[in-house]
């Protein structure tokens, strides 16, 4: 048996690959669920019910989807340009912190809707700036951005911790480490009455469409694609690699920062250290599962959200630890990587 490179990938296979990957991942995770003493089919039934069973659960799933789309896009945009931004988590938190600070102080100065726009933009700028440092280091000195962006996540978390214990601490929170709350004026409108679902979802989907259009239809998209796939050929064609990378960094960091700003203004209203259950990292999985396709990101973000929300209620109903959600998502990533292999290679006897 050996692998041979395919000349081109049939469309069927490109669509089938993620589906097959997920099915295999569910089957493998099923073994673990069975070991926990529960029939995997029951567990998955509970999971689907937990994620879709009621109006509430659907709205919860979509609420979870929102930040995953944005961090997924952040990773997809960066990875396509071969910029390994592992710092989505840190960019998200910095965006969130800036949003909380502005949300607290800005509403008294400018009218609500304008303030919301400023806050979201500021969150993006914060995320973008955080990624620019590592990227400039890479361009100038060849420093590996995987390391720098990853380490920055921890630094940012400590910084956030410092701010919400210090200057930005909410004096009315009974001593909990919690940032000042944003003004009611700047909370994002709800998408659905009596639920936590807010218009951030539409912003995220809109962002995905914009990213898709930019990537597939614009000069900038074509140049970043070339720069990512073959930097030598791109610079021969006159594309400035450093500039391209900086622009990609701004977009990627900006999307992750936006995720944080939206979580604060749409959902939580303030920043705590458990604002994100690892959205920045899950975004990487979302992007990989989607094959870095921005529209695919929306779909895989829904999938990951289903697994997380569903696993919670499965755990409540059947007593299986909710950590199984992490296992399912992680195994999906692995099986997806294997399935992707078969989209570009075929097996020969």
């Amino acid at each position: 048996m050996r692998l041979e490179r395919r000349d081109n990938t049939p469309l069927v296979l490109m669509i089938a690959a993620p589906v097959v990957a997920v099915v295999i991942a569910l089957a493998l995770s099923g073994v673990l669920i069975a070991l926990a003493g529960v029939n995997p089919l029951d567990a998955y039934y509970e999971m689907v019910k937990g994620a879709f069973g009621s109006r509430l659960s659907i709205s919860e799933t979509l609420t979870r989807t929102t930040p995953l789309i944005l961090t997924g896009l952040a990773a997809a945009v960066a990875f396509r340009a071969r910029l390994w931004n592992i710092g989505g988590e840190g960019q998200l938190y910095l965006g969130a912190l800036v949003a909380a600070w502005l949300g607290h102080s800005l509403a008294s100065v400018v009218p609500g809707p304008l303030a919301i726009v400023i806050i979201l933009l500021a969150g993006m700028v914060a995320g973008a700036l955080l990624l620019l440092g590592p990227v400039i280091l890479r361009i100038r000195l060849g420093v590996d951005e995987v390391v720098t962006t990853l380490i920055l996540n921890f630094i940012v978390l400590l910084f956030v911790s410092m701010m919400i214990e210090g200057p930005l601490k909410d004096p009315l929170a009974f001593g909990w480490p919690q940032s000042v709350p944003v003004d009611r004026e700047v909370l994002l409108p709800k998408l659905l009455e009596r639920s936590r679902l807010h218009i951030g979802l539409l912003v995220a989907i809109f962002a995905a469409v914009v990213v898709w259009v930019v990537q597939s239809r614009t000069v900038f998209g074509m140049e970043t694609k070339a720069a990512g796939l073959n930097p030598k050929a791109a610079s021969f064609a006159g594309i400035k690699l450093g500039k391209t990378l900086l622009a990609v960094a701004c977009i990627s960091g900006g999307l992750a920062g936006l995720a944080g700003a939206i979580e604060v203004t749409g959902l939580k209203g303030y920043v705590t250290l458990d604002l994100s259950p690892g959205y920045g990292y899950s975004g990487i999985v979302v992007a990989m599962l989607a094959g870095l396709n921005p529209i695919g990101v929306v779909i895989t973000a829904v999938f990951v959200a289903i697994v997380f929300v569903g696993a919670d209620s499965m755990s409540r109903a059947l007593g299986v630890p909710s950590f199984i959600a992490d296992v399912i998502v992680s195994i999906s990533l692995l099986t997806m990587l294997v399935c992707l292999l078969f989209t570009s290679y075929r097996v020969r006897r």
């Binding site: 000349d7 000069v219 998209g221 074509m222 070339a226 050929a233 021969f236 064609a237 594309i239």
Partner: protein, 507 residues
């Protein structure tokens, strides 16, 4: 064939998807024979040898070595049967010594001590016996390409190979190194080894082999005793039709288009181009000949806008500068053919239409308001495919799927389509087959006729002699004085390529 056969391939067929790479090929190799496997790119030579060596398994057919059937798909079995293969792209580890590279895989992992001393003795004996001089303790990364190939051959011999297969062995060698290689191969066959070498170069096949098997389109089309055939016949058999390389006609050059005066380029404090000077005029081809690695890459990058001069001046159409940018050159009407079409010339994963327009995507015919005019781009790619005869392509075909020759035609096409006034052609026919070479030469001469100035950087002396009006040699980053092609003779140019020219380099 009276020779005792050491290797027999019978009815080998191998399909890749719809493509039949080998169509029921049979071949036998006699003891002490030097067999050339001649064919154009894509004729199925490499596939056949990979089947023989067990890298691929054939769909049908079998391989016998010394009368024994070889199990398919097992390179180790092939090695044990005494078959050694030297790949076109070397399989050596640069961070290991020559001896380590040769010994790798010959000893079991369980042994606590290695037989280094014995191995070194054996290696020395082998290198003396076949005149393959190489220092066993040198790191492979320090060796020249020719030396690395010697290591590859020694590696095969060390494993007691009695049949040696070489895939395009001269592709990376200088002419002198190639001559040495064939000398060695002849010594080997004289002492009872058998050799197959794969080639598409008629000259070396005629000079070195005993017998030629010609492959075309996955089939054996003919077999000849080398002594009883000639270049013209082989060329026709290989290509399937008569190929005539186009011939240059005399014409008066026009004004200066590109000149360099005392240009030096530094890399880490070392001069990779050392006070060079040249002049290319409109309607003239200036050929820069030299052995690989003497500064051609830097010269190509300098003139393609990827490097700037540290001292001296370049002048393009009267406009003086230290360095160009790709954008500026493309806008000013320069066609640039990069040294390596795969890594610099095209993005393999992108479609042909994307590669056709990549360097001019900001022109208003291909984009507006930041958006790509996809229909216009596709039409343009269609025109290129049509006009430059790019085979097996539509605008949406992945560029990687093109053969080397067709990819080069695409690169030529996208440059020539906008009638350039200057063409920088760096190794424009490297790795191409006869048909494609003729096409590329034809296009360059056509551009010259239309008044373009052409800077041709090449390692192929025949090519430079055939195309150039003026010739300069490049050696260790320096350029010789210009010699009119009419007065140039091979021997003098051979000396110039070794850095022997009269006086200092004149501008």
């Amino acid at each position: 064939m009276t020779l005792e056969p050491v290797l027999e391939l019978t009815n080998i067929t191998k399909r890749f998807g719809d493509l039949v790479a080998n169509d029921s090929i049979s071949l036998s190799l006699g003891k002490g024979e030097l067999l050339a496997l001649l064919g154009e790119n894509g004729a199925g030579k490499t596939t056949l040898m990979n089947i023989l060596f067990g890298h691929y398994t054939a769909d049908t057919g079998d391989v016998r070595a010394f009368g024994q059937l070889l199990p398919p798909g097992k390179p180790r079995a092939a090695i044990e049967a005494g078959i050694g293969m030297v790949h076109q792209h070397f399989t050596l580890a640069g961070n290991l010594s020559v001896l380590d590279n040769i010994m790798i895989g010959t000893e079991g992992l369980g042994h606590l001590r290695t037989a280094r001393r014995e191995a070194e003795t054996k290696l020395k004996t082998l290198s003396e016996r076949f005149g393959l001089q190489v220092n066993p303790n040198a790191f492979v990364s320090e060796l020249s390409v020719g030396e690395r190939q010697r290591v590859e051959i020694l590696k095969a011999l060390y494993r007691d190979a009695r049949v040696l297969i070489l895939d395009e062995p001269t592709a990376v060698l200088t002419r002198i190194e190639a001559d040495q290689l064939f000398e060695t191969l002849r010594d080997m066959t004289a002492s009872g080894l058998s050799v197959i070498f794969i080639s598409h170069k008629l000259g070396e096949v005629m000079a070195a082999s005993n017998r030629v098997v010609i492959l075309r389109g996955g089939r054996t089309v003919a077999e000849r005793q080398t002594a009883k055939t000639d270049r013209a016949e082989l060329a026709e058999l290989m290509v399937g039709r008569r190929v005539v390389r186009p011939v240059r006609t005399d014409q008066e050059p026009g004004r200066d288009i590109l000149t360099a005066k005392n240009v030096s380029v530094l890399e880490g404090g070392r001069k990779i181009l050392d006070t060079i000077g040249f002049r290319v005029r409109a309607g003239e081809i200036l050929g820069i000949i030299g052995v690989s690695g003497n500064g051609q890459a830097a010269l190509g990058q300098l003139t393609s806008g990827l490097l700037a001069a540290d001292s001296g001046t370049l002048s393009y159409d009267g406009h003086e500068t230290k360095g160009f940018s790709p954008h500026m050159l493309v806008r000013a009407g320069t066609g640039r053919i990069p040294e390596d079409r795969n890594t610099e010339g095209a993005v393999g994963e992108m479609a042909i239409w994307e590669n056709s327009v990549l360097e001019r995507i900001r022109e208003s015919r291909f984009s507006g308001n930041g958006f790509v005019k996809r229909a216009a781009c596709r039409n343009y790619a269609d025109e290129l495919i049509e006009r430059f005869d790019i085979r097996g392509a539509t605008p949406d075909t992945g560029t990687r799927q093109l053969s080397g020759g067709n990819m080069q035609k695409m690169i030529l096409g996208r440059n020539l389509a906008s009638s350039p006034n200057l063409i920088i052609a760096n190794q424009p026919t490297r790795g191409l087959d006869e048909g494609a070479i003729a096409a590329v030469h034809g296009e360059l001469l056509e551009a010259r006729k239309a008044g373009a100035a052409v800077l041709l950087i090449s390692e192929d002396l025949d090519e430079v002699l055939a195309l150039s009006d003026t010739i300069q040699a490049i050696f260790k980053g320096r350029l010789s004085a210009a010699v009119p092609a009419a007065q140039a003779e091979s021997r003098a140019i051979g000396l110039m390529m070794a850095g022997i020219w009269e006086g200092e380099n004149a501008a």
